[in-house]
């Protein structure tokens, strides 16, 4: 079968529901999915934040301090650390008045090389058309 591409589309904001967190934790779980797969098979996830979902990528989240739970920010940084692409829709950021300087752009503090990619919705649509499976959260 080989590599199967999967796109996680997050359209809900953080903390109000579990959706964004579940998208991130499921995407990260691709790293250990091989224990259930045949040799040579793999799942290649990309996670993209669109609509109100772009709010998940706002930096300096205080969830650990305020709620005592892991922040969405730390999950996003974990994605970057394991080279899992994180995309954010530029048009939806603009709609909410967000600039790149407001966002999680990297996880250099964790030693990650991969950076957040700010993309147009046309790029998101192109990716949606190319992947095998599409999951909306």
């Amino acid at each position: 079968m080989g590599a199967v591409t999967v796109l996680f589309v997050v359209q809900r904001p953080p903390y109000k529901s579990e959706n964004a967190r579940l998208a991130l934790t499921h995407a990260i779980a691709s790293q250990t999915a091989e224990i259930y797969m045949d040799e040579g098979d793999s799942v290649v996830p990309v996670i993209v934040f669109v609509g109100d979902g772009v709010l998940n990528v706002v930096k300096d989240q205080q969830a650990t301090k305020v709620y005592g739970v892991t922040s969405t920010e730390s999950h996003i940084k974990s994605c970057l650390l394991i080279d899992l692409p994180v995309w954010v829709c530029k048009e939806d950021m603009a709609r909410l008045g967000l600039k790149e300087e407001n966002m999680i752009t990297n996880a250099e503090d964790m030693g990650a090389e991969l950076k957040t990619k700010f993309v147009s919705f046309a790029d998101v649509q192109k990716e949606m058309e190319s992947v095998k499976h599409l999951l909306f959260f």
Partner: protein, 119 residues
């Protein structure tokens, strides 16, 4: 025949998504397809045996057991279940528990994936 994997993330009570998923699974199995079901997030409410059937609330245990008897594989997210106080001994007979990578791995071989998000 094909293989269908359904991932459900919404709760048993307060949403009809699980009811829909079981009806779709029933139809798929009826047509000879292999069907897998992944329950995560609030959908792990299905991972508690002995739920009472009230007319006012969704109750899928009977259909779920029938479908498992016909070969449907149902796996529930272990972390999501434990976080809600549903333990191993609570799980209905035939239902499995696994970590999220089980769902990811199913995406490789399945012909179609239907992901039903949470509330």
């Amino acid at each position: 025949m094909g293989e269908l994997t359904i991932g459900v993330f919404s709760s048993l009570v307060g949403s009809m998504s699980l009811d829909f998923a079981f009806k779709l699974a029933d139809a798929g199995i009826g047509k000879g397809h292999k069907v897998n079901l992944w329950l995560s997030g609030n959908a792990v409410m299905m991972a508690k045996k002995g739920q009472k059937a009230f007319k006012d609330y969704s109750h899928n245990e009977k259909l779920m057991k029938e479908l498992m008897g016909k070969g449907m594989e149902i796996t529930v997210c272990e972390a999501c279940a434990e976080a809600r106080g549903y333990h191993k001994e609570d799980v209905p007979e035939g239902m499995k528990r696994a970590s999220m990578d089980w769902y990811l791995a199913k995406m490789v071989k399945t012909d179609r994936l239907l992901h039903i998000g949470g509330e």
